[in-house]
Amino acid sequence: MTMPLAPECRNTVSTVKDLIARSRERHRPASSSQRAIIGALVVLALVSVTASLWAPYAASSQSGQSLAGPSWAHPFGTDELGEDIFVRFIYGIRLSLLVAASTAVVAGAIGSAIGMAAGYVGGVLDSAMMRAVDFMLAFPTLVIAMTIVAIVGPSTATPVLATIVVSVPLFARVARASTLVERQKEYVLAARALGASSGRIMARQILPAIMPVLRVQAAIAGALAVQLEASLSFLGMGVRPPTPSLGAMLNTARQYLSQSWSYGVFPGLGLFGIIMLLIMLANSMADNGDGPVARKR
């Protein structure tokens, strides 16, 4: 670009640069409902991450009678070992948020890269990858996740691995569909005319353009991940017992429903709250004109 250009050429280059710049300006400010939901999630994360600093009991300390109802000392009651359900609930929320965040980030990165490459490069790569994605999506996610747990063996990391594996195809499919749309647009042609490499175009032009759609997908994937981890733990295939997980707590609670109602109610309320916040976040981002849902209208 150091070579001096004829005036009309310079003009073309500046138009092209302008087009590229405008492709990045689509970022809309978050609406007030989005900010409220994100705020709620951040507060939940801060409260649960700092739990060890302020919680009155440790997660596995027998601090009361077993299966006691709610009281001032134990707002959600106690479990079958006399542990405080509220404290374990907070640690369970922390685990669920961790699963949601790591799935959204890791599966989002891998899946989007696969989908963008398939959509941009096309050809054999595209059909091979999409066949694989379709095949994976045909299976119930819980079955895939359980099979992974059975093979790898249960540990704290396994449910996260399982949720990441089942979420990758979802991201790949969404990223591919959006890439196919963006690939046709003028600013991509312009960047190609300027001699940008495929990798550069994907990273600098297409990725920012499809980012809003990927954000919606990330919120959905987070919600699915929370649900999946809870289901795995509920079936006894998730996090191992001493670590508090909301799904595992409900599995134990199921055996004591006639003795304690609070044990069966509160852990599920936590799951319900997190999942609903994430689904509402996805809906509000989509309503804001970002998602595949809104584009269809």
Binding site: L142, V143, T147, G247, L257, F272
Partner: protein, 326 residues
């Protein structure tokens, strides 16, 4: 149900290609089931033989199940067994896997069937709101789809047990009674699981049916029908309902086909002796042959449901019958 007209050759080709696709998926699924069998930790022959088996017994089992041959020979041998109706023996209960499936699948299919009916009833009532955007029923339907999707199914089941079984004592908390032999007790034992399952499915259904009705009601042919002076219910019944069904049928198909997976959660909550419980126990206990057969059953369910959905398209979408469009 529909005056059936169409191009026979197009329809035949369409069905053949769908069936071929299904066979392909089934073949892929059998590879997956086979690979999983080998990736499960432990030596299958040793687990099948039991903890006190001698080396000779293990070797005998390896020979019997062709576990000592090359992977490809083993895969072919396994298919031969499958085609002869031999899916192996459960390590845990020492019962034929085919026998276990024959015992549990009808239980689960009954549950899935009743749940789907419950879900469809909920959905159609709520989706009538989708005919007029912004009406009270429409807003309830929208809220329902968010809340219904957010409630973990097993928590809903626990709440149902707390309320209807523990608190009021109206219905049993779990277990299964065959509704074919004992209608009243059977339906009572089905009620809570079917409603729990149905609520979850209807949340998905409602979301889709509402959106697809809203889309169809904006189409030109609906405006034309209205301009011809038809009443609103006639517009909906004769003109809007069929096209609105197309995306909806797809979703119902996917939901029903993946419901064998979801049945695991619901059946565990209600201690229901169906296929889901069997599969969960098999995975936990590394019951090789049951896991393998279970994966095949799940793939087969997906394939059959997809083919049924494709057949439904034939009735709903004349473009497929005449070979135009799509």
């Amino acid at each position: 149900m529909v005056p059936w007209r169409g191009n026979v050759r197009t329809v035949t080709r369409y069905l053949m290609s769908r069936i071929a696709g299904g066979v392909g998926t089934l073949a892929g699924g059998s590879v997956v089931a086979f690979v999983v069998f080998h990736l499960l930790p432990g030596n299958p022959a040793e687990i099948i033989a039991g903890t006190h088996a001698s080396a000779a017994q293990v070797a005998a089992i390896q020979r019997e199940f062709a576990l000592n041959q090359s992977l490809i020979a083993e895969f072919v041998g396994w298919w031969e067994h499958v085609l002869h109706g031999n899916l192996g023996v459960s390590v845990v209960s020492n019962v034929l896997v085919t026998h276990l499936l024959a015992q549990t699948l009808p239980v689960t299919l009954t549950l899935v069937g009743v749940s789907t009916v419950v879900a469809l009833v909920f959905t159609f009532v709520l989706s009538l709101g989708g005919l007029r955007k912004g009406s009270l029923l429409d807003r309830i339907a929208l809220g329902w789809s968010v809340v219904g999707l957010s409630i973990p199914t097993f928590w809903l089941g626990i709440l149902a047990i707390l309320l209807f079984a523990v608190h009021w004592g109206w219905l049993p908390a779990g277990g299964y009674v065959s509704p074919y032999s004992y209608p009243v007790a059977g339906l009572k034992s089905l009620a809570l699981p079917a409603i729990t399952f149905g609520i979850y499915m209807s949340a998905i259904f409602t979301q889709f049916l509402r959106r697809s009705f809203l889309d169809v009601m904006r189409e030109d042919f609906v405006r034309t029908a209205r301009a011809r002076g038809l009443r609103e219910w006639q517009v909906v019944a004769r003109h809007a309902s069929k096209p609105a069904m197309i995306p909806f049928v797809t979703v119902v198909g996917i939901a029903v086909s993946t419901s064998l997976g979801f049945a695991m959660v619901v059946e565990t909550v209600f201690a229901y002796p169906g296929f889901g419980s069997l599969f969960v126990q098999a995975i936990t206990a590394r019951d090789y042959y049951v896991v393998q057969a279970g994966i095949m059953v799940i793939v087969a369910a997906v394939v059959v449901a997809n083919i049924l959905v494709d057949v439904a398209y034939l009735f709903l979408d004349p473009r497929i019958r005449y070979g135009r469009g799509t």
